[in-house]
């Protein structure tokens, strides 16, 4: 899971304080593992340094959470590129796919197109592995089978998510 890109994606909805970003990150993507405040601010600092977000003036009050961060055009482009780029098809990528779909739905971006693109990348990899099985020794066949079953599981998730997109969109926007 890419924390910087996920925070950038959350900022694309609206300018936010670090506290709000942490709360939404933990709520949607934390899955029982909270993002430390220190990591949130360190990440926002790096994103600001790289011109992907800008920090507003400090607002009156106590504590460190007094700046509102807004995404820049550079940051927006980075989120768009990240969402559109299929993840390298390999086992255990569910968390990245999950984050991409959820963010795409939050932002009203074409989640179905991203899933189609990912499905195509998975199918290409499965074709390569099947070709390897046809020509390779038994050890390669066993390894290819292992990868194929994991990719197939991802594909089932992609297919099921595709048909649930409307329902999911309503859930993440409310």
């Amino acid at each position: 899971m890419s924390v910087p890109l996920t925070l950038l994606g959350l900022l694309e909805r609206e300018p936010s304080h670090g506290y709000d970003l942490k709360r939404d990150y933990d709520n949607f993507f934390g899955r029982g593992k909270q993002l430390p405040f220190g990591q949130v601010y360190a990440t926002l600092g790096r994103l600001a340094r790289d011109g992907k977000v800008i920090a507003g003036d400090a607002e009156p009050g106590d504590g460190p959470d007094r700046k509102r961060y807004a995404i820049t055009d550079t940051g927006r482009h980075e989120v768009d590129d990240w969402l559109a780029e299929p993840v390298e098809p390999e086992p255990h990528l569910q968390t990245v796919l999950f984050a991409k779909v959820t963010l795409a739905l939050m932002l009203g971006k074409p989640a179905e197109a991203y899933l189609d693109s990912q499905r195509a990348a998975h199918m290409r990899r499965m074709q390569e592995l099947t070709d390897l099985k046809r020509t390779g020794p038994l050890v390669d066949v066993l390894l290819a089978d292992h990868a194929l079953f994991h990719l197939e599981a991802d594909l089932r998730w992609i297919d099921l998510t595709s048909v649930r997109l409307k329902e999911l969109a309503e859930a993440v926007r409310n």
Binding site: M123, R124, M126, Q127, E128, T130, L132, L148, V163
Partner: protein
């Protein structure tokens, strides 16, 4: 790793095309402007969820269903414009079929089942049975020729079905969930044999499956969703949804 090389037998010319095909059953639309192009010698898989229209598309491409609107072309000829007699002749001479269930006559032997379509096409009996034996051999079940197909295992029966389809030297094999009733290993063996032998013969295969592992045997894979063909890989798949045609119905 690079994508698998396109086999030498695959030419870029299109052999089968669906252009803006609509098909409904009563009030229920199954295809809503499907476009697809399959190349000569290509192994082409059609995937999609249950009820998406993938089997209907295969049946339209094979001239079994007639589209309500749109065209199906085989070798440049509009299949939907042919007479029923010409379509039947086309199916018997140029197409082979492999389905999930019910395609073999259980009371007949494996050799009888393979020879039957050849005999219907007026091949001499001796030649038909020699051809049947050759194909059963090539599918690794040469010793089962005298067995009734009702007594064979699922995997053996599907090999007989593949032998029967290939024995006709078809230009196209249409396969609808050909491994749907088989376990994974047997299904893969059947696919390996069917696609390998089809490539050797230069035959095109159009395959419907819900199983991504089976679709991975194909050169190209298309996804059918809500009666439309969605391109899964724009760099290699020419199929696309007919958005313009969608408005027509």
């Amino acid at each position: 790793m690079n994508p698998p090389a396109v086999p030498a037998s695959v030419s870029r010319g299109s052999l089968i095309e669906a252009r803006g095909v609509f098909k409904s059953f009563g009030q229920t639309p199954a295809l809503r402007g499907a476009d697809v192009t399959v190349g000569q010698g290509e192994i082409f898989a059609i995937m999609g969820p249950s009820g998406s229209g993938k089997s209907t598309l295969l049946h339209c491409l094979a001239g079994i269903f007639t589209p309500d609107a749109g065209d199906v072309l085989f070798d440049g000829q509009a299949v939907n414009a042919m007479s029923e007699a010409d379509r039947t002749k086309l199916r018997r001479t140029a197409f082979g079929f492999v389905f999930q269930f019910g395609q073999l006559v259980p009371e007949l032997t494996a050799a009888d089942n393979v020879a039957l379509p050849l005999l219907l096409n007026r091949t001499r009996r001796k030649v038909a049975y020699k051809t049947a034996d050759t194909w059963l051999d090539r599918l690794g079940i040469g010793d089962k020729g005298g067995r009734r197909t009702g007594e064979l295992s699922g995997g053996e029966a599907q090999r007989v079905a593949v032998a029967r389809a290939l024995a006709l030297a078809p230009k196209v094999i249409f396969a609808d969930e050909p491994t749907g009733s088989l376990d994974s290993l047997t299904g893969e063996k059947v696919m390996d044999l069917m696609t390998g032998l089809a490539r050797e013969q230069g035959a095109t295969v159009v395959l419907v499956t819900h199983d991504a592992r089976i679709a991975a045997y194909a050169d190209r894979v298309a996804m059918v969703r809500d009666g439309l063909v969605a391109a899964m890989d724009r760099s290699t798949i020419t199929a696309s949804s007919s958005t313009a045609a969608r408005g027509a119905h």
